[in-house]
Amino acid sequence: MFVLQLFEENRWYNFDDNHIAPINEEEVKSAAAYVLFYRRDPKEKKSNLLKLNSEYNHLQRIRRVAAMATNRPRFPTAAFLLLLLLLYSKNALHPTLASIEEGEKREEFTEELLLKPLPDRKVLAHFHFQSSAPPSAANGRHHYIFPKAIAQLVRKFQISELELSFTQGRWNYERWGGFDPMSITNAKPTGVELWATFDVPLNEIDYTWKNLTHALSGLFCSSINFLESSAAYSTPSWGFHSNYSNLRYGALPREAVCTENLTPWLKLLPCRDKAGIASLLDRPSIYKSHYHSQRLKLISSKLVGIILEQTLSVVLQPSLRSNSPVSFNAGSLQPSWSVNSLFGKKVTGHCVLAKVSRIYFELEKNLASKVDELNPLNSWNNSVLELLEVPSREFRELDASSNQGSSLLYEFEVSFSNESTPLNIGIHWKLPLIWSCPHAPFRVSRYLMGSGNERGSIAISLQSTQLHEWFLTTSDGCAVHVVIFQVVPWYVKVYYHTMRIFIDGKAHIISDVVRKIQISPSEDKLSPGSMELMLRLPCNIHSATVIVDFDKGFLHIDEYPPDANQGFDIPSALVTFPDFYFSRRYQLDDSMQYKSTLLSKFQESNSAKRYTEVLLVPLTTPDFSMPYNVITFTCTVLALYFGSMLNVLRRRVGQEERLSKSKGTSIF
């Protein structure tokens, strides 16, 4: 299909294989067109350029479609028409399409930011950057936008998937959301978590993993290389991700996350923090936050090339300054804030290399429904709240099943802002509002039981939230599945046969509750113990607890860390609810071919999951001079024994008696 705008009429014409017909401008922007002819108007040079600018993205897409179309067999009429049009255009039309650059080599970069007020007066800022490199022989050697180091990493270690996260603080599932895309994919356990799958033969995976940890620790200035030893990583088979045989998983709960880790992460962005959304990343405000998680995800395959997804989620506390006149009565409940008050910076333009550069502002379902109840004329400036900037678009969540209302999303185009007109997105509350966030079906906590330095028990307890509609609609016979994935270091020797399961306080037989179990027991100094457990629990329960006992092992003298008295961390357990899938779809304008990597991430359907707390196990710390003490003590005892034996052997009892006798006679 060809689309042509006749300049005399200022209308678009559709040249199909079969017919020619005038069409309107909106239809032109649909996916079906793959060649557009523009004319440069000498009188309106400037406006035309602007027009070109706004349609640049659209043209990019058309170029791709055209590339696809050339592969398709076409009718000869189409080729003929193309030829005709090209001849015609030589005289009258200037094919400006030709000026669209090939230099970019289709490496793409997008930057997006999601802002969301949280129920406990905090704000979530979620930065999402995505770079992609198409499959190419030059990957790892020549790059335009995609970071070279990452491509080399993928090439050298044959990574097919990798996720690395640096997290400080703990995601509060109760207050910040336990059943939304943010908590499911972006909440991570404290410290470092790394998992990767490789496209190498099974016997080389461990070797590749070890080298990868060294490369990553150099790249991100962190101690990921501690995951090199086989006692530090595990091989989950289905508890972490479904059915991967070549997955390796490691976590360092005690890793301190700081600017040294953020700077190399930012270096991977083409504009770094010099321009665009990333320029908001003010270090002091990030590291003052309640929770921040910096994540890097890589997906690589021969078909799509390499996709690098970098996200940074921060939960910030807006400062409670009451300098606005209305906030006296309202601000006590929800603080009004803006990007400037959160980060101390404003958005002054986009990263020119980014194909998409947007900021989203999300109102959670419960909040949006409360706003809707007031029936305002305008969802973003009404009697409850007011957004500080006018959004360029507004989307509503597609959620037919529920009648509780749907989330609202406002979009702000960053490319419209510049130094003189910065974008300062924020919210001003006019009425106090209380809302809650969606909860996962179970609250999960994990704790230690027992005392002393010899043994103890780990308990994982699930508390039903009873809030989920799923429980309300189903009958008594229903059941819910829970998958627990737990890795325990080897010096915590778990006795899996001691596993007990209590449901609502009553002990149950394990085989009644456990559907599937996979245990790889720890081997001293060689591998950690890991437990993958699938439970089937009745819907109507209030609580369930899994308890396993363990003994504390002895470490070799040089295996103790310098701060051995602080205790040893057991990494977070991951609890997945495979029955509860969540995805959030927004009512996107289909005809606009709206593309957003962030929103498409939200659309991916993922099962609900939660990470538990990190446990701290105190182990007996030895006196480090002990070996020498033991040696000296034992040797002294041996020497005493030897000496007395020697004396006994060479004593002359008879002679001594005679001597003493003779002495005695001489005395008496």
Binding site: E101, A138, V352, C635, A639
Partner: protein
């Protein structure tokens, strides 16, 4: 101890006359018992020492020392061989006399300052006089007559085009090269001929290892002079008057013997414009260079485009040149190491960076002013051992348009070619040559043919010689340090791997030296690189780096608490038993003497 002194009444009453003699032979039961405990102890001592001994792989210390005495501080110079061929009759002068004439001239020209890898005075000259009907070799060497087949070519050859002459000479010499008996490298050949087509001297240096001089009928001393000039300046010193004077490497070679040439295109401000390059073209053009330099290092080429990379020096507008000027003095501050993330490669190799800087709109056009006030033609500079920088001003730099449309362009092909020329010149400079081959040397009227892959064969020879020498020095100093370290720490564990690596490294170093003295320069460079990387591997072996060698203090701390008290008991007991036995025996002997008497 107290027990012993109590139980053993040492002060035997000697005054009691009855006990000064004894009638029975003193018993040896206890003496034998004590000695039978002592002897296993003494016999076990070597076993104990052996079992607690630390494993040290025997390192060839003496061969390290002897080789480093030969190599350090200056390795023996490689051999340069010159073969002069006269394709015309030389009146009244024998080949041997000609050899002496040339040698005198060469000696005059060689500077006394000896730099690493240059042949110095270690050269050999041979002469063949091939005047069509008679053929005379200096020294009467059999190899020479085979090397240059007399009568195969004559002076009429030189009437042809230079490139054709070069190829023909190469073909003839290549044929001869096979029958070199010594197995050494090919000598440098200078052919003297005469041709009616040319007036006066015509001196051409080919792209292989030969040159030719065509002159009318010059005197023999003049011929010797020009031969010596060409030999010293080009074949020995690579086109420079002096030998390569710089110390150390020109391009840092990684421990594994590889170099990463990292090309970066820096868009100082992408809001003004973004330029891309079609790097495949540069990659293809560099492929022959990579191949030619393979004996020195494995070269990997990488490229990236960086954005938001302002320079850190300030430039000022100059009306007379129509651009922003910055001078030589600003160069040290040009590279902005905090904003230019150049080291993004994960390879741990030696790295040279070649940057192309696209200035911002405000500072465009950006020009480099040389010391004499001239504007640099290439608009670029290099920093030895680091890399090079080129400033490239976009073509529409001065056009002042206010559109907000982002400009994204691929560099035009012609511009890219021009840039590549400069890149290549910088690469040559980094490797220690002149930036471009000057086709005609003005001083001596010597024409130089450019090589196919950017380097001529004789230039590569110079490079190989230099690298071989540098690698040998570095290898020997590493091995020397290792042997010093191992010898100074007698309780350091030296595992077999290190011993093997040291052995192989020494073998490779010896091979490199032999090859250098034979004149096989590329093999010498390759094996010296191997020697160096093996030596580095041995020195940086993880077991050397770990400090967990068992110290003598530790050894004593473990064994002293047992052996000190036990051996004290034992020795005391032995001493006492022997003393007791001797006393008792004396008594018995006295008794025997009394009764016998």
């Amino acid at each position: 101890m107290a027990e012993i002194s109590l139980s053993e009444p040492l002060n035997h009453p000697p005054e009691s006359g009855a006990s000064s003699q004894r009638s029975t032979v003193p018993g040896t039961k206890r003496l034998i018992l004590i000695l039978s405990i002592l002897f296993p102890f003494l016999a076990g001592l070597p076993f104990l020492l052996k079992s607690t001994e630390i494993y040290r792989s025997p390192l060839p210390f003496s061969s390290i020392d002897s080789l480093s005495a030969r190599v350090l501080p200056d390795p023996p110079p490689p051999t340069c061989q010159l073969h002069a061929i006269f394709l015309r009759p030389v009146a009244g002068i024998s080949a041997g006399r000609m050899v002496r004439l040339i040698s005198e001239e060469v000696d005059k020209r060689i500077k006394s300052g000896h730099s690493c890898g240059s042949c110095g005075r270690n050269y050999a000259v041979s002469v063949t006089i091939d005047s069509g009907n008679e053929c005379a070799h200096s020294g009467g060497g059999e190899g020479n007559s085979c090397f240059w087949p007399c009568g195969e070519v004559d002076s009429s050859l030189f009437s042809k085009d230079d490139v054709a002459v070069d190829e023909m000479l190469d073909a003839v010499l290549r044929k001869g090269g096979h029958c070199m008996v010594s197995g050494g490298g090919k000598p440098y050949t200078i052919v003297l001929g005469e041709s009616e087509a040319h007036e006066g001297f015509r001196n051409v240096v080919g792209k292989h290892r030969h040159a030719w001089v065509v002159n009318g009928n010059a005197r023999e001393s003049d011929a010797a002079l020009i031969i010596a000039k060409i030999f010293v300046k080009f074949f020995m010193n690579g086109g420079k008057e002096d030998a390569l004077q710089r110390n150390g490497e020109f391009v840092p070679v990684g421990l594994d013997g590889s170099i990463v040439l990292s090309f970066s295109l820096l868009n100082a401000n992408p809001n003004d414009w973004v330029y891309y390059w079609d790097f495949q073209k540069i990659d293809e053009a560099l492929a022959p260079v990579v191949e030619a330099l393979a004996p020195i290092a494995n070269i990997h080429i990488e490229s990236q485009v960086l954005y938001h990379t302002p320079k850190s020096s300030i430039s000022k507008w100059a009306d007379e040149s129509g651009g922003n000027i910055f001078g030589i003095s600003d160069l040290p501050f040009f590279v902005n190491s905090s904003e230019w993330h150049l080291d993004t490669s994960i390879a741990a190799a030696g790295r040279s960076k070649i940057l192309q800087y696209v200035p911002t709109k405000i500072e465009c056009p950006l020009l480099l002013q040389l010391q004499d006030g001239q504007i640099s033609k290439t608009n670029g500079f290099i920093s030895p051992r680091w890399g090079g920088v080129i400033l490239w001003n976009p073509p529409d730099c001065s056009a002042d348009f206010q559109s907000r449309t982002p400009i994204r362009r691929t560099m035009p092909r012609k511009q890219l070619q021009k840039i590549f020329q400069v890149f290549f010149g910088q690469l040559r400079l980094l490797f220690g040559f002149k930036s471009d081959i000057i086709p005609v040397d003005d001083v001596d009227m010597i024409k130089i043919l450019a090589g196919e892959n950017g380097f001529t064969e004789w230039e590569l020879d110079v490079l190989y010689r230099h690298h071989a020498c540098y690698n040998l020095i570095s290898c020997m100093s590493t091995l020397g340090s290792l042997s010093k370290l191992v010898q100074s720490l007698p309780r350091m564990i030296v595992i077999d791997d290190i011993g093997k690596q040291v052995k192989y490294s020494l073998e490779a170093a010896n091979l490199a030296q032999n090859n250098a003295s034979l004149g096989i320069y590329d093999a010498s460079a390759a094996s010296s690189l191997q020697a160096r990387s093996l030596a580095e591997d041995a020195f940086f072996h993880p077991s050397v780096m770990s400090i967990s060698y068992s110290s003598l203090e530790h050894y004593f701390a473990i064994f002293m608490p047992f052996f000190a008290p036990v051996s004290l008991h034992l020795i005391l007991a032995v001493v006492r038993e022997i003393r007791h036995y001797r006393r008792e025996r004396a008594k018995y002997l006295a008794f025997v003497a009394v009764h016998a008497g």
